[in-house]
Symmetry: none
Subunit: 138 residues, 2 copies
DNA sequence: TCCTCTTGTTCTGTATATGAACATTTTACT
DNA sequence: AGTAAAATGTTCATATACAGAACAAGAGGA
């Protein structure tokens, strides 16, 4: 069932945004206790609420509901392409591609990155790693 | 409200597929009268039903609910890729996948990035952009 | 007209969401 | 550790909305 997926995702995205249940409830104009129930899957939000959620989180309905048909298609395409080139395929990569696709700014940077000389590319990989180290500690 | 949009779209896509209410009801394993009520907006399907609908119609949840405002820049981006570029979207994605697979360090960083709060993610996208600006000028 | 197919509507039992109040857990600070 | 405040979880009563069955209405064909 997708209700567990929805419950899990609401909590996940709320925490990724550093919001309390109270804050999220205010953004959606619902009671806080409902948020708790959504996250614990004792109740599933109706479609109006889900649309509001997708807007405040800036994601698609398919993402928040875990409706993976789109993702499965993507996976199939990749498998087809990669198997024909006899390369191994990593399902994790699909997650990354999804992330990149919904963040066009990041996508653009990776394209630019690809065009740099290899040494510069590797430097940037390292710098990025350091940056994230710092952000994780804040 | 989006419920009118949903009602309208269910009828629209059903008719585009040349299905009767009865046929659609059978595909979804619900009663036919419920389909009529969905289409006349006297009742709004719950999320489980909407997901089934998106699957039998082969469209996204955002499409069926008319939730197209969640990210207009994403839509714009897709349009740009599809219309004005010589490469197909698939090929572009494959390029990204290949690059990421070849560079496990980068892959790891993007995973870590995904787990950060949204604001930090966006900061890093920007910082990365600035970094690459500098490297391109060297 | 009669029949069939399709769609719309009413009615009823059941299920589920909601908000307020209360309970518990976690966090922050001394 | 001890305490207060914040955050989260749960219970309860009320209200809403759903699914399905039965019935009604309209269109088209023999």
């Amino acid at each position: 069932m997708s209700s567990e997926q929805i419950a899990h995702n609401i909590k996940l995205f709320r925490e990724q945004n550093d919001w309390t249940q109270k804050e999220l409830a205010e953004k959606l104009a619902v009671s806080r206790s409902v948020i708790a129930k959504w996250e614990n899957n004792s109740v599933t939000p109706d479609i109006e609420a889900l649309i509001k959620l997708s807007k405040v989180f800036g994601i698609t309905l398919d993402h928040i509901t875990g409706n993976l048909s789109f993702r499965e298609d993507l996976l199939k395409d990749f498998k087809r392409i990669y198997s024909s080139k006899s390369k191994s395929f990593d399902e994790e990569v699909v997650e990354l591609v999804e992330y990149i696709m919904i963040h066009p700014t990041l996508k653009e940077q990776i394209y630019r990155l690809k065009s740099l000389p290899m040494k510069k590319q590797l430097s940037i990989h390292q710098l990025l790693s350091n940056m994230i180290d710092q952000y994780e500690q804040i």
